[in-house]
């Protein structure tokens, strides 16, 4: 038996200083200090202002530069409410050059006509595309949903089969069947977007299905609202205007061009880059993820501590 038992004060102190007794204090001290240093002094504040700040900085350069090459006019602007689409507004629609139509016809014949028919009139397997406009086609093809992988389930987003130019060529051909009709391909300058307005509009019109964080969710059997974390500003406006799948179609009388621009700005600037000031964001799915962390990591870690400092027999 150790002598400590009879040794009195000195022995008692030595007993307390054993690694087994000191370890919890040391660990907790370290944890506390790290926590306080890392998170207290306005670090939340800094990141909160950091993310929304680029509002004025980055334009959607890719889309705008492409657009300027393809634009011939703002010929067919579907604007019933709000301001007319224009470069100054940050949202306008492009007309695709005639030279795209011929290669587009070839691409369509090779990849789409099996289901949609040679003149895009549809058939038993697929809908009529005439009159839907270049914007609708651009949405489905550029998100990889078309060509379909599986016709029995909701079309899923996947890497697109066509590159940007091919996508525009197919869109141009479909548009050429019904000139002036349907949804045009928008160009969105999100740096002009109003994030406050976008927040309000998104909460009112979109959050009920896509969730307030834009993470998406299951709706009914086989139907779901997809995540918005991958969408581009052009695709967002195309989806608003064309109403793909189960999504309702929002015309310019309901969501004006200004509104559409603000929503696209809010989704791409705020929802796709959320201010996760508090640490790991857990996928933006709310208390489900948090509950798992609290129970498995929080309570779990503390039970392990119990197991460590308690007897096991």
């Amino acid at each position: 038996m150790p002598k400590d038992h009879q040794a009195g004060e000195a022995g008692t102190v030595r007993r307390w200083l054993r690694p087994r007794t000191v370890a919890p204090f040391a660990l907790v001290g370290a944890v506390g200090i790290i926590g306080l240093i890392a998170f207290s002094p306005g670090s939340a504040h800094a990141s909160s202002t950091a993310t929304p700040a680029p509002v004025q900085a980055t334009a959607n350069t890719a889309t705008s530069s492409q657009a300027s090459a393809y634009v011939s006019s703002n010929a067919n602007p579907p604007h019933l409410g709000g301001q007319a689409p224009s470069k100054q507004l940050g949202l306008y629609y492009i007309t695709l050059p005639r030279s795209y139509i011929a290669p587009g016809a070839a691409l369509f014949a090779a990849n789409c006509s099996t289901c949609h028919g040679p003149q895009a009139l549809g058939g038993t397997k697929a809908p009529n595309l005439q009159g839907l406009g270049a914007g609708t086609v651009d949405f489905w093809v550029s998100t990889g949903r078309m060509p379909l992988a599986n016709s029995s389930i909701q079309a899923t987003r996947k890497p697109p089969r066509f590159n940007r130019l091919q996508t525009l060529e197919v869109s141009a051909w479909v548009q050429s069947l019904t000139p002036g009709e349907g949804v045009q391909i928008p160009v969105v300058n999100t740096s002009l977007g109003n994030l406050e307005q976008g927040n309000t509009l998104f909460t009112l019109n979109c959050a009920a299905c896509h969730t307030i964080t834009g993470a998406g969710d299951a709706l009914m059997d086989g139907a779901y609202a997809p995540t918005l974390h991958l969408a581009t500003p052009t695709q967002i406006v195309e989806a608003i205007r064309s109403g793909p799948g189960n999504m309702p179609r929002f015309g310019p009388g309901n969501i004006t061009n200004t509104n559409a621009r603000d929503i696209a700005a809010y989704v791409t600037k705020v929802l796709q880059h959320p201010t996760n000031a508090g640490g790991i964001g857990l996928g933006g799915i709310g208390p489900v993820g948090e509950g798992f962390v609290a129970l498995l990591i929080g309570v779990g870690a503390l039970m392990l501590v119990c197991f460590w400092i308690g007897d096991r027999a």
Partner: protein, 495 residues
């Protein structure tokens, strides 16, 4: 010098005797006895962080224009409650850390209560004479859940506002008095006259914590008075308690544990985001988001609501919405009544009216263990049912399929768990010596070429009859006679 001043205090207050009893309180060393302390220390963290938050939070539904540092909200009309919560997250030094630590502490608090309660249940620690303490504990569980919900609602964000809306409907679903109760609480038809935030606030920060503190005192007071239970074992009996004394061993251990709990909570609070209300926005009754769940401890109620078929009863000019009333009022009512009355149900069933200080191994009480497993199965199923949409989306399953799976599972799982647990208990009991260390077998080759196996010598601490020599307790504790002490730092006192 210290002696003199202490004597001076004691001469006037006479606390030495009680203090001695407290410092000599014996705590059994088994790890499962520390689960309740997780809850205790998370509660301490809750009080501390809660005081901090209450310095900045404004409990008012009054609408103002947000001008804080989170850009997407600027210029929006928000309630003062929401604006102040976003403000304390972004514009107050360490405010977000405190708010997240408070929220994580709440999640861990209820989780620790549940785990602690399961330990007490499965080992039979609630039996006579400890029924009162069980009842106090169940009451604290209910209050913890209620207060968690109230606190979750205070920021007035879109997600929690949906929860308040559901709570209103649940209150309204009570037959006859429902509408009156809801009007009374909300000050009118939903969303009420702006009184719900200040009311929830005062219940959350004053009334419930005060009751919780009182019950906590009773819980621990009864624990000291009745002394701990303990697992049966060598030199442990119904009439003694074997373990470490409060001073010095347990005090060092438990203080370390306080810091560990605080550390884990603040680590989570610092590194893992919880409830980012600035992403959700202000609650308005016409706004809605999908994928809205309550915090985990309310999940079982939300799940019950989700899987309930839409039945209602209409007659004599009244509607009783059974689809809300049954899962959200009757179901938790039954569950908590079972919790409350279990000690009495069990003693009536077993006709066991004796005092019990020694705990059961769960396997030795197969019916109780099976009943507990069935209850856990039921609550676990409805708990998971509250994330039907997230599951359907995450695993790419049809939503109604997931829903129907849970509707069937809620009946099947408890029954299966009951019989499975019962069977496992019985089989464990029949396998004698299971879980004990085996004695090594020594294989020897004799000269005639024969192999022989023999059990080796038992290691110290193994097997019966090998008892360690009793060790005298340290000289400065003279209350306990040396012959009662055993093992290193472990003491045995009579009840």
């Amino acid at each position: 010098m210290i002696d003199e001043s202490l004597r001076w205090v004691d001469d006037r207050l006479g606390i030495a005797k009680g203090g001695r009893t407290f410092l000599d309180k014996i705590f059994p060393d088994h790890w499962s006895f520390m689960l309740g302390e997780i809850a205790l220390y998370s509660f301490v963290v809750l009080l501390g962080t809660g005081v901090f938050l209450s310095l900045y939070y404004v409990p008012s539904a009054h609408e103002i224009i947000y001008h804080g540092s989170y850009l997407p909200l600027r210029g929006q009309r928000v309630s003062e409650a929401y604006a102040s919560t976003v403000g304390l997250s972004f514009d107050v030094r360490s405010g977000l850390l405190m708010r997240q630590a408070h929220h994580w502490a709440a999640d861990i608090f209820v989780g620790a209560i549940a785990v602690h309660m399961a330990r007490v249940f499965f080992t039979g620690a609630f039996r006579k004479p400890r029924e009162f303490n069980w009842i106090v504990g169940v009451t604290m569980l209910i209050l913890a859940i209620v207060n968690g919900f109230l606190g979750y609602s205070l920021p007035d964000d879109l997600v929690s506002g949906t929860g308040i809306r559901i709570a209103y409907s649940i209150i309204e679903s009570v037959p006859l008095v429902g509408s009156y109760l809801a009007f009374f609480l909300f000050g009118g038809n939903y969303p009420g006259s702006g009184v719900i935030i200040p009311r929830f606030f005062i219940i959350h920060v004053l009334i419930v914590p005060l009751i919780l503190l009182g019950l906590l005192g009773a819980h621990l007071g009864l624990l000291v008075k009745q002394k701990h239970t303990q697992f049966p074992g060598k030199s442990k009996s119904e009439r003694n308690v074997v373990g470490s004394p409060m001073f010095p061993t347990f005090m060092a251990k438990t203080t370390g544990f306080l810091f560990m709990t605080t550390g884990v909570i603040f680590l989570l609070g610092g590194f893992v985001q919880i409830n980012p209300i600035w992403q959700f926005g202000q609650y308005e009754s016409y706004k809605i988001s999908y994928a809205v769940q309550p915090d985990w401890y309310m999940g079982w109620l939300d799940g019950a609501l989700r899987i309930m078929p839409s039945w209602e009863w209409v007659g004599w000019g009244h509607t009783i919405p059974l689809e809300v009333f049954l899962p959200a009022v009757i179901f938790p009512g039954i569950v908590f009544n079972i919790f409350y009355t279990w000690p009495f149900i069990e003693s009536r069933h077993t006709k066991d009216l004796a005092y019990h200080n020694l705990l059961d191994r769960p396997r030795d009480r197969p019916k109780r263990t099976a009943a507990g497993a069935a209850m856990l199965g039921l609550l676990g199923t409805v708990f998971f049912a509250s994330s039907t949409d997230v599951m359907a989306n995450f695993f790419d399953l049809p939503l109604m399929g997931v829903l129907w799976f849970f509707r069937i599972a809620v009946i099947v799982v408890p029954i299966v768990s009951y019989f499975l647990a019962y069977q496992i208990c019985n089989e464990l009991r029949q396998a004698e010596g299971l879980g004990k260390r085996k004695r090594a077998l020594a294989v020897t080759l004799t000269e005639s070429g024969e192999y022989r196996t023999e059990e080796s010598e038992p290691r110290p601490g193994d097997g019966a009859g090998v008892e360690l020599e009793p060790v005298p307790v340290p000289a400065f504790i003279d209350v306990v006679p040396p012959e009662l002490a055993t093992g290193e730092g472990v003491r045995r006192v009579m009840r």
